[in-house]
Every structure is written in C-alpha cells, then in structure tokens.
C-alpha cells in the first residue's frame, strides 16, 4: 500500500505505530488515569478532541511560519495553541459535567504537557503531511491513545481483585503490563504492507 494513502496513515497511527505503546508518548496520563474504565474513556475523548484541534491549527500555523520565514517560532507557537485549546476544553467540561471534571482532576490541565499532542503536531510537520492527511493522522493517533488507555484501564480494574506481591504493586506492575501490551501491538506490524 502507498505510504501516503489515508488508510495507511490511519492504521499506522492507530495500531502499528501506536503513540503510547511504540513511540512512548503520553505515558503520564497512561499511567495516571488508567485505573478506572469510565474515566479512561472520557480522558481519551478529551485528548482526541484537543489533538484534532491542535493538529488543524498546527497545520495553519506552520504554513504561515514558512511564509514569513520564522520557523524557529514553531515550537513556541505550537505549545501556545495546545495550552489555549486545553483551557477551552477545561472550561467546557467544567460547565457540562462537573463530576467528570472532578474525576479527571489534575490530569485535565496536564493534557497541555501530554507529549502525544505536541508529538502529533511535530510529526505531521516533519513528515510534510497535507491538510487531509494531518486530520486522518491526528484522528488515528487520538484513537490509538484512547484504545491503549481503555485496554489498560480494563486490565487494571481486573487486577485490583488479584493478589500481587506488595513490592510490585503500582507503577512497576503497570509498566510490565504495558510492556506485554506493546509486544502484542507489535503483531500489527504486518498491517498496511509496511
């Protein structure tokens, strides 16, 4: 399959090069909010939305910066866009669902420092994706993040019932599971003919 085709970009960012499990982006929320299934799903939704908006704006800003020859401002302008989008989402969620707002807690403003979002913006710029490709890419990446987060939350909810040695409880156990998940996701490598 052509590496520029929409299907390839989507499958690649969703499964083969999953942002969490093969690029290690967005590890903090992945470890932090993956203890309950419901919260994880909604967190995934919020991240997906921010990612989409950030990717669209990043595309616009990048072409503007190229025009005025000020590429050194790229990083700074991207982070400003992301920070303001997150602020917007935060206000929206606070208004629409105070319960969810409390459940997400500190991790909501921390979406700003979620490397997955800046990662999407930077990768699409580096790979010189067109406008449509950028949208598909960011959507796939967001869906991939949500997928990994939800699977992890499901596993961790079940693990609460299991008895594990005290010493491995917490981050160490989560990381081991993430390792196994990452190996599982490597099985997708043949998809899309890469």
């Amino acid at each position: 399959m052509n590496t520029d085709s929409m299907g390839y970009i989507f499958i690649s960012s969703l499964l083969v090069n999953n942002f969490v499990l093969s690029y290690f982006l967005g590890i903090c929320p992945f470890l932090g909010v993956s203890n309950k299934l419901g919260t994880a799903t909604r967190m995934g939704g919020a991240v997906m939305f921010v990612m989409l908006v950030a990717s669209l704006s990043a595309y616009g800003v990048h072409s503007l910066l190229v025009k005025i020859d000020a590429l050194f401002l790229q990083l700074i302008s991207y982070i400003v866009i992301i920070a303001s989008t997150v602020q917007l989402v935060e206000m929206f969620i606070k208004k629409m669902s105070p319960a969810l707002f409390r459940a997400l807690g500190i991790f909501l403003p921390l979406i700003t420092t979620n490397c997955a979002i800046l990662g999407v913006a930077l990768f699409q710029t580096n790979r010189e994706y067109s406008f449509l490709q950028s949208i598909v890419f960011s959507f796939g990446a967001g869906a991939g993040f949500t997928l990994a987060l939800v699977i992890m939350a499901g596993i961790r909810e079940e693990l609460d019932l299991a008895s594990v040695p005290n010493i491995i409880k917490g981050a160490a156990l989560t990381l081991m599971i993430a390792g196994i998940m990452s190996i599982t996701f490597m099985g997708f490598a043949g998809l899309g003919g890469s």
């Binding site: 093969s22 903090c28 420092t113 990381l175 190996i183």
Partner: protein, 209 residues
C-alpha cells in the same frame, strides 16, 4: 545560621534531586523520554544532558522573574520560557552533532512537555532564591540523567551486547532484541522501579529495627 550549616543545606538541596527525590524513580515524572530514547547509552546521555541544560536555564529564569510573573498566567509563562530554551537546545544540538540530532529526532522538541521541568519550575524555582533554584535544578537534572543512563545501559547491554558501542559479552552472545524494541523499554523501567521499591523497603525495615 552559620556558614557551615548553610553549605550543608545547599548540599542537601543538590543531593535530594539525585536520589531521594529522583524525578524518574520516585516521582514518576518525565517518563516519556526515559522510555523512548533509552535504547542506547549514547542517546540516553545526550538526552539527559539536553534536559539538564533546559532545566537549569529555565529554573534560573523562572527564579529571577518569580516576583514579576502574575500568579494567574504563571503556567503559561513557564511553558513559554521552557519552549524558548528548548528551541535554543535544539539548534545547538543540530550545530554540534548532526548524528545525535537525527537519533533523538522529535524528542528534543518534546523536552518542552517533560512534566519534570514544569514541575520543578512550579514547585521549586518559583518559590526560592536564585542560587538554591540552580542547585536544585542541577540536582534533579543529574538525577534524571542518572536514571536515563541506567535505562540506556541496561537496554543496550542486554539488547545489543554492547556498552556505548563497545562489545561486552564477546561474539557468542545472542542479543535479546526485545530489549531494544519498545516493549523492552517498559520492561526495563518496570524492573528498575521494582529494584528501587525493594531497596526502599529494605532500608525502611533496617531503620525501624
């Protein structure tokens, strides 16, 4: 406070970041680069150094400006300061070594979103004097470099049979390729955290006895 006491306190500020409050092992901050660019010792070291550079400079500036920055927009200001220094670091690395720049790729830019740096700016540099903030940033930076170096060494030795590209085990060693791949990163960090937990529990027990 006498001079000696002050010195001891400063030393403590510095040492705390390296082990007691190690950002990676105990606070679980800045995990993304630790996992992503720790597949070889060289990558890990250059990443650690770049992060320390940004951390020290941004802590310095935040500490200098701490009385001027309005409280409401402080996070945005910190991020802008950090982003500026990351841009500096990115261009500097590109000028010094193109090879390192290519190996680290987008992860140099991603230092901006390393929660450890923002965390230090918010929790320490915005409340403390210049000298202390610099010491703290150095301590935490070295702690981070130490952690990422451990990861890099572990993964390269097991996964490739080399240490900084010098063969360790001889020719008959069959490398565990999985340790270089993403999955291995998670395992290696899991094992390191396990070890740190175990050590902590052991020393705690020793103290109560």
């Amino acid at each position: 406070m006498s001079d000696k006491q002050l010195k001891g306190q400063n030393f403590n500020t510095f040492m705390k970041g390296i082990w007691e409050e190690n950002p990676v092992f105990f606070q679980l901050l800045g995990m993304c680069p630790v996992l992503a660019v720790s597949n070889s010792v060289m990558n890990a070291l250059s990443m650690g150094m770049a992060t320390t550079f940004v951390l020290v400079l941004s802590s310095t500036l935040v500490s200098l400006l701490r009385k001027l920055i309005p409280k409401q927009v402080r996070i945005a200001t910190y991020i802008l300061i950090i982003a500026t220094f990351v841009t500096v670091a990115e261009y500097a690395i590109q000028a010094i070594s193109l090879e390192v720049y290519k190996n680290l790729g987008a992860f140099i830019s991603l230092i901006v979103v390393n929660c450890m740096i923002l965390g230090r700016a918010e929790a320490f540099a915005s409340k403390n004097k210049l000298g202390k903030s610099i010491l703290d940033a150095f301590g935490v930076g070295i702690g981070f470099t130490f952690a990422i170096f451990c990861m890099g060494a572990l993964r390269e030795i097991i996964g490739n049979g080399t240490f900084a590209e010098i063969p360790v085990f001889g020719e008959n060693y069959e490398p565990w390729v999985i340790m270089i791949l993403p999955g291995g990163g998670f395992f290696a960090l899991g094992v390191l955290l396990l070890f740190v937990n175990w050590y902590q529990q052991k020393t705690k027990k020793g103290a109560t006895k």
